[in-house]
């Protein structure tokens, strides 16, 4: 039985045992290689649910968005490793009650970034996408391209170390533990090999593209302040323009607000209409936090977000002597 079939089966069981009021999963999207969030309220709708590499959306976001539409409901949710970490973080921060959710883990081998496909095909019409082991074939009316899977995977997946859920009630398969990933260090090394001036040049080029649509913020399950710092206007801390200093400050501060809380699901990068590599800053901060405080966001359900904690004897070599 494939994962989709198992997922549908599980959803049906949860509804027939009256364990959930709503179940969050994915269904077929309107574009080739796309999926869209699905909110199931009746076991009879279970057959619409799917899980495959198209299912990039981190559904945990729906617990924390301002409408809070699932408050007071018993919610079942299908989660990849990263989505599960988001949920754990939300539980740590008392945004979600553990006994109100049924967590169904799905085995994940990475999700495909639709934008990367469009880049590779120059925006041409793709009617069919076929996966075959490590390669992916894109077909359109007048072309067919075969690519290595790594060329179309979301960049978060290429740097992933926890592919499967660490917290779940049901897991549809065998959950893997932490895996090694050299891509993380490689991505940081590329920048760290540059001089300070070159780094700024790189940052400037990247963040000049930002149009302040806040898709990154809004798809992020860790971004749930009822009033975001960019929306505060009395006093207004940060300019609303696309001047690169404004956009850099927005992204740096957002990065620091999700420091120790970012689970690196990559939702921000996939949502960015301007293709900014938003994850790189988060990766840097996550690595720094791991190095200094030995913690990774969203792993321990009984833990607390790392930036809300401290130890008295921490290293403080950056403080002037």
């Amino acid at each position: 039985m494939n994962v989709t079939a198992k997922l549908r089966e599980t959803i049906r069981e949860l509804f027939s045992a009256d364990k959930v009021d709503v179940f969050l999963a994915w269904e077929e999207g309107s574009l080739p290689m796309s999926s869209t969030p699905l909110f199931i309220t009746d076991g009879a709708q279970a057959d619409r649910a799917i899980f495959d590499p198209r299912c990039g959306n981190n559904l945990s976001v729906y617990f924390t968005k301002d409408s809070r539409q699932f408050r007071g409901k018993r919610v079942g949710i299908a989660v990849k490793g990263c989505d599960a970490r988001s949920l754990v973080l939300n539980i740590q921060e008392n945004q979600v009650l553990r006994d109100m959710v049924v967590i169904v883990g799905v085995p994940c081998n990475g999700v495909i970034d639709g934008k990367k496909i469009r880049r590779r095909t120059g925006g041409k019409q793709v009617t069919e996408v076929m996966e075959n082991g490590d390669s992916v074939t894109l077909k359109g009316p007048e072309f067919s391209i075969t690519l290595d899977r790594s060329e179309v995977l979301s960049s978060s997946c290429l740097r992933c170390v926890h592919p499967d859920a660490t917290e779940y009630d049901v897991f549809l398969g065998e959950a893997r533990a932490e895996v090694g990933n050299e891509n993380r260090r490689k991505a940081l090394d590329e920048v760290e090999a540059l001089s300070s001036a070159q780094r700024w040049e790189r940052t400037r080029k990247e963040y000049e593209k930002c149009i302040r649509c806040y898709a990154c913020r809004n798809v992020c399950p860790s971004c749930y302040c009822s009033e975001c710092f960019v929306d505060q206007n009395d006093p207004q801390w940060i300019g609303g323009t696309c001047d690169v200093t404004d956009t850099v400050i927005f992204h740096l501060i957002r990065n620091l607000h999700v420091a120790g809380r970012c689970v690196e699901c990559g939702a921000c990068a996939r949502a960015c209409p301007m293709d900014i590599d938003l994850l790189l800053l988060n990766l840097k901060t996550a690595e720094e936090i791991k190095k200094r405080f030995g913690d990774t966001a969203g792993i321990r359900i009984d833990g607390r977000p790392v930036m809300a904690e401290f130890r008295e004897d921490e290293k403080q070599e950056f403080i002037m002597g």
Binding site: T245, I249, A308, E314, Q316, I319
Partner: protein, 139 residues
Amino acid sequence: MSEWQPRILAILCNWCSYAGADLAGVSRIQYPPNIRVVRVPCSGRVDPLFILKSLQAGFDGVLVSGCHPGDCHYISGNYVARRRFAILKPLLEFVGIEPDRVQFSWISAGEGERFATVVTKVVEDVRKLGPSKRIVKKA
């Protein structure tokens, strides 16, 4: 023609570094006049946004100073601040903002001498870097 002088914002905790600055003053200890002081109730009050906003507005450097570990007026404000600064500094360096432009120190109310030394050091570090250009808004 006078030579370029760095402008530095010093964000000081009310209970220690601000009093330290006061002590340096009343003790007539000389330190460079390049700093403008903002008093905050605790180093834990310092949002990294304050630091970035200062740089954006054209300050050439920012010094944040609070109480020594264990001495926080509010028990743990400086510990939380320390974690924040611990990740802010490498992040700024990563994106290409010169690390010496943003500095942190612990100065108690009794350390007038130390306040002068720290300010002198920060001013000299920033002077070496020259005027800040990267994250300054010139719209």
